[in-house]
């Protein structure tokens, strides 16, 4: 069942946040949503961390926009794997985001203008710090679970390292302990598409009343290809041509081109280019083992949480062997971890899909959590 009508809330933080880069964010806001009821012991809270282009609107819909359904609605609600009859679910828009939390499009209190290019680069560690402040406000000492896919999975992992005592279970889905060179390369092309857009104006496009829409479109089109699987694209679009194709032009001739342009346009209309730059950089930088000579097991040793790691066989962007690296590091340390690998056909985006096995595994894992 759906959680039904939901509404976003805003938390204001007036004490400064020291970021990993050394930059100081004097004040900031986080926008979040909650579903279900926090129990008296405050022991049933689950934090949902979002991926690259996500936000706080994870489940349900808005009273005035019934078609605006949360991005992970299929897994959250009464009787769903993240059962709101049992758990209190929190979704949050990350710092640097463009859906209400303080980000590059926000006004810098020091200048009275948009932050723009001056908004600092944020990292996964910074997000976890900010989310911990939100947990403080909600009175949550320890999350029953922190869960996320892709970049969200990295946050779920980082939580267990930044605040080992504040997270009892960590669900790391379609993620990796660090990006591969190939992954960083894709991110770099996406950023170059944005940075080279004539409307980018060094990141201060807000002042020029334009947006680097073309760059953002290209970045999203590229990203979108990497989130799907070859098989799925073949099945969904194949080489089907559009009416009037065969004109030996560079207009839209194939269905896949039409689909990518549609996705690119839709995304560029909604998303902020400066946020996209920062989110991809946060992905690039994430590497908890870096400070430990590349030894992931050493890096993960402080974690006290139990882990559930899930990968998808058709995910080539964060392939299953990347998830198994996390699992083997945890096993090396004798830490508690379960690992499931789903045959879901949707590539990296499988973590957003309603795959029966994947959802059953998450449900089974969460059901055994004592509150």
């Amino acid at each position: 069942m759906s959680v039904g009508i939901v509404f976003p809330q805003q938390a204001h933080f007036s004490s400064p946040l020291m970021l990993k880069s050394g930059a100081l964010l004097p004040v900031f806001d986080l926008v979040y949503e909650t579903y279900g009821t926090l129990n008296a012991a405050k022991s049933n809270a689950i934090l949902v961390c979002h991926a690259l282009s996500g936000h706080h609107h994870v489940a349900g819909y808005y009273a005035d926009q019934t078609e605006n359904i949360g991005w992970w609605d299929n897994i959250i609600g009464p009787g769903r794997p993240l059962d709101t009859d049992r758990f209190f679910i929190v979704g949050v828009n990350n710092l640097g985001g463009c859906h209400g939390s303080t980000g590059p499009a926000s006004v810098n209190p020091a200048t009275g203008k948009h932050w723009g290019a001056d908004f600092p680069v944020v990292t996964v560690e910074d997000w976890v710090e900010a989310q911990a402040r939100l947990a403080d406000i909600l009175g949550i000492d320890a999350w029953a679970a922190v869960i996320g896919g892709s970049l969200g999975g990295m946050q779920a992992l980082q939580w267990t390292l930044s605040f080992p005592e504040r997270v009892r279970h960590s669900l790391v889905i379609a993620a990796a302990a660090k990006l591969s060179a190939e992954n960083i390369a894709f991110n770099e092309i996406a950023r170059q598409a944005i940075l080279s857009d004539p409307d980018f104006h060094g990141g201060n496009y807000y002042a020029h009343h334009v947006r680097p829409l073309n760059g953002l479109r290209l970045a999203r089109m590229l990203g979108h290809i990497t989130y799907l699987s070859d098989d799925q694209m073949a099945e969904k679009f194949g080489r089907r041509q559009r009416p009037g194709a065969g004109s030996y032009s560079f207009d839209v001739e194939f269905e896949i081109e039409s689909y990518l342009r549609y996705q690119g346009d839709k995304f560029a209309g909604l998303f902020d280019a400066n946020t996209y730059l920062r989110m991809t950089r946060a992905l690039d930088y994430f590497d908890p083992a870096l400070a430990y000579d590349g030894q992931l097991a050493t890096a993960l040793a402080p974690a006290r949480a139990s882990f559930l790691v899930i990968a998808f066989s058709t995910d080539w962007r964060f392939a299953p062997f990347r998830s198994r690296e996390i699992v083997h590091a945890l096993v090396h340390n004798g830490q508690s971890v379960a690992y499931a690998e789903s045959n879901c056909a949707h590539g990296h985006d499988s973590f957003l899909m309603e795959d029966a096995y994947y959802h059953a595994v998450v449900a089974s894992y969460l059901q055994r959590i004592t509150l």
């Binding site: 198994r324 379960a338 690992y339 690998e341 096995y357 595994v361 089974s364 055994r368």
Partner: protein, 197 residues
């Protein structure tokens, strides 16, 4: 293979595990053996299981199950991590027999292997009658069996000798789970071995 009911070889295996010992259960099914070793023996363990139903059931039981295919070996698991690496009623379903036994004794100090004895007298009778055996320990028809290898106590022991594996202990059970002391290759339907290097 998915483990189901309580099984006689579990009693033997449980008796060999001491508190705080680390156990890796290969083909752990729904995790019943591990659950028992953790609860009754104070062990600490992980399971490896290929089938979705087993993985999900093991997760529901709170077991540290890792989905994977034993045919791929145990890459990623460090040498000498486990006190016992258990392969319960699964060796006969594995194609890369020698490689798996080698891997078990790489990541574990001791390998515990149980398997159905194809030379059990009822199996011999079935073949004498002209039919492949179907029994408690070989519960499949020939056309739908997950079993790839059919072997006997003598066959297994000659493989151990060839691979220079040390047989530390051997227990043989009949279909009711009773220990067989005489004529084990004829009277035993299930064999349980402790192997070392």
């Amino acid at each position: 293979m998915i483990h189901t009911a309580e099984r006689a070889d579990f009693d033997l295996i449980a008796s060999w595990v001491k508190p705080n010992e680390r156990v890796l259960d290969l083909g752990c099914g729904d995790g019943s053996l591990l659950k028992r070793l953790i609860e009754e023996r104070g062990a600490y363990g992980y399971g490896i299981e290929r089938e979705e139903a087993g993985v999900q059931a093991a997760i529901a039981q709170g077991i540290n199950v890792i989905q994977g295919d034993l045919e791929q070996g145990l890459a990623g698991f460090d040498d000498g991590t486990f006190n016992h690496v258990v392969l319960s009623r699964t060796l006969q379903t594995v194609r890369h027999t020698e490689r798996l036994l080698t891997e078990m004794l790489r990541v574990g100090r001791e390998a515990v292997v149980s398997f159905p004895n194809f030379a059990y007298w009822k199996n011999r009778m079935a073949v004498m009658r002209g039919r492949m055996p179907v029994s408690e320990d070989l519960p499949y028809e020939w056309f739908d069996t997950p079993n790839l290898r059919f072997f006997t106590l003598l066959d297994f022991e000659s493989l151990c000798a060839k691979m220079q594996l040390v047989i530390r202990e051997r227990q043989v059970l009949d279909e009711s789970g009773r220990l067989i002391l005489e004529e084990p290759n004829f009277l035993g339907s299930l064999a349980v071995y402790r192997l070392g290097r």
